[in-house]
Amino acid sequence: MKAELMAAYLSGSITPPQMQQLNAMLLADAEARREFAELLNVDSALAALAADWTSTPKAAQPKPARWLTSSPRWITAAAACIAMLLGAWYWQHAHTIYATVSKAAGVQELTDGAALRGETHDIRAGSVSLITARGARIVIEAPAEFRFESAQRLHMKRGRLAADVPPTAKGFTVITPSGDAVDLGTRFGVDVPTSGAAEVHVFQGEVIAKASGAHDKQSLRGGDAVTFAAGASTARELRSAAFIQPDEMPGLTAGLAAGQRAQAEGALAALRKDPALIALLDFESAEELPGVYRKVQGRWPGSHAPEFVNVGDHLKLDVGGGRDWPQLTLAAWVRIDRLGAPYQSLLHTDGWSQNNPGQVHWIINRDTTMRLALIGNVLAPGSVERQGHPDSRTPVLPEQGRWVHLAAVYDSAQKTARFYLNGQFDSETRLQTAPPARLGPAQIGNWNQQDRKLSGRVDELLLLGRAMSDAEIHALHAAGNPYR
């Protein structure tokens, strides 16, 4: 009876006697009023959802504003008319546009300010930041293929996404081939590699993750991460540096606009002519470097860099062997997670033996200071280091996993190890015994025993058989800096 009356009212087929009954019932019965209000509330929400809906991914045509055709009050309220016309246009559009491109950095396929509806986008290089109609800020890094189903639902076939979700966009969902992530507000990332399982990483707040085919959903909180594999989600370590965050984009974009990439190329060209050069890896040559790693985007849109994800991932390098290096400069751009093993390997010679002094282990310590250990080194009396190796004074990883430039300069004649962070001199360690450096077979991102896992990306790795000056390191950082 109650349901029948409400159904008739909602379908517009209610008869006058039924309407009388409905009015009488609603007047008398608070419970019925609530039921009625909740049903109509659902009706309203369905209409709002339908306005955002497209049956097939295609560009929706903006509907003409209905209001242009009615409302005689227009003529009397000219100012309001203009204001409201803008307003009307805005919501007519807000209903059909799911997201807007705020910045396309190095992306050929999209332009700043482009309106995204239900179409599929395939970006080969670069990073793009978007803002959804509900105010979620998103960065997607190439190579990526994605489409919006609505302002609140994004399908990611591949690519890497970081999202910052305000309360207005609570419930924003990313759908991947192997599982979904529903955000309950704040910051998370989704990585859908070209091959391999998708991952969800939560930087802050809460996300509900559900692997395709799984019955159970998982609630993830800040610091949690999972891999979707074979219909289940498995916990894994957080990879904060894997994602370009929305607040990182302006700096990257400005760097590109300022022509930083050309500057970096110029600096590298000069280094390649340096007679003391041992190795310079910018990862741009077609030559496959041996090892186990993912090939991802480097500091510049469309550039390349190795990424180390799992324990044992590494890059093999065999340079500068069979001779002594009285002076050695090591430098690299890295983007590394704060969390990790007690030691993260920047470069480890395979050998580490008292019989072969001078073998080099370049490391990030647990407290995120940098270490340059050469076997056979003895610290000068009065050194502050507790573990017998030269360490940088300050931690070298910023709070967020951004690109940082690390450098260490070893000089066996001066008996010093000097550390640099982002082109700035950090500290110098004096040595009592300082054999010349020895290189040869080495690994980046790992060491033999698979216990020095580095988690993140490395770009522009330099090994130079002379000691660079403070000014040179400063210039090296300035030339290669992706940010402005």
């Binding site: 349901a3 087929s13 109509l40 309203s44 209409a47 009615s70 100012a79 409201m84 419930g171």
Partner: protein, 177 residues
């Protein structure tokens, strides 16, 4: 527009666009059809802008807008509701008052709909969305679904009830956890 007006206008648009769905839902609860709510919304948006000065700076936009909306709905009922089967004024006033107090819950319910829609099989979801398109013809959608028009209306209502049950469950689980 002089800058002060311009600034005022920006403030208004910010508030209005933020709360427009809630105001629309509020109006929808009081009138027979969605199209009626759309018509009244146009009127309401003009009135809100005209009266925006009377809203104290920093005061909450939503309850104020709900008040304006209720007044406009009553005016519409007197004006155009006479030849339509509509709710009594007294009932409208009661529902308006009660749902203004209930709005935080109703808002959560609207948010939860999206989640519950995911549990609806894709073909049925498509039918629902077609039926709710602003310019949709129920006759056509009913025909596509292989139902008679009255049969399709019944199905629609069952879906709304199912969705509401799901929404209540989701909110109850939220409250429990």
């Amino acid at each position: 527009m002089p800058p002060t007006d311009h600034e005022r206008h920006r403030r208004f648009l910010r508030s209005f666009t933020a709360h427009e769905p809630a105001i629309r839902a509020h109006v929808r609860r009081l009138v027979p059809a969605r199209a009626d709510a759309d018509d009244i919304m146009q009127e309401i948006s003009v009135v809100l802008w005209e009266k925006f000065d009377s809203l104290a700076e920093g005061a909450d936009f939503k309850p104020w807008a709900f008040g304006v909306a209720r007044y406009e709905v009553l005016a519409w009922l007197r004006d155009r509701g006479r030849d339509r089967l509509v709710l009594d004024e007294e009932v409208v006033s009661k529902i308006a008052e009660e749902t203004t107090a209930l709005e935080p819950v109703l808002e959560r319910q609207r948010e939860a709909l999206e989640h519950c829609m995911q549990k609806v099989p894709a073909d049925q979801r498509g039918l629902l969305m077609q039926a709710y398109q602003p310019e949709s013809s129920i006759q056509e959608v009913a025909q596509n679904s292989g139902r008679s028009v009255p049969g399709f209306y019944q199905w629609l209502h069952r879906m709304r009830q199912k969705l509401l049950e799901c929404i209540r469950r989701v909110l109850a689980e939220e409250a429990a956890s």
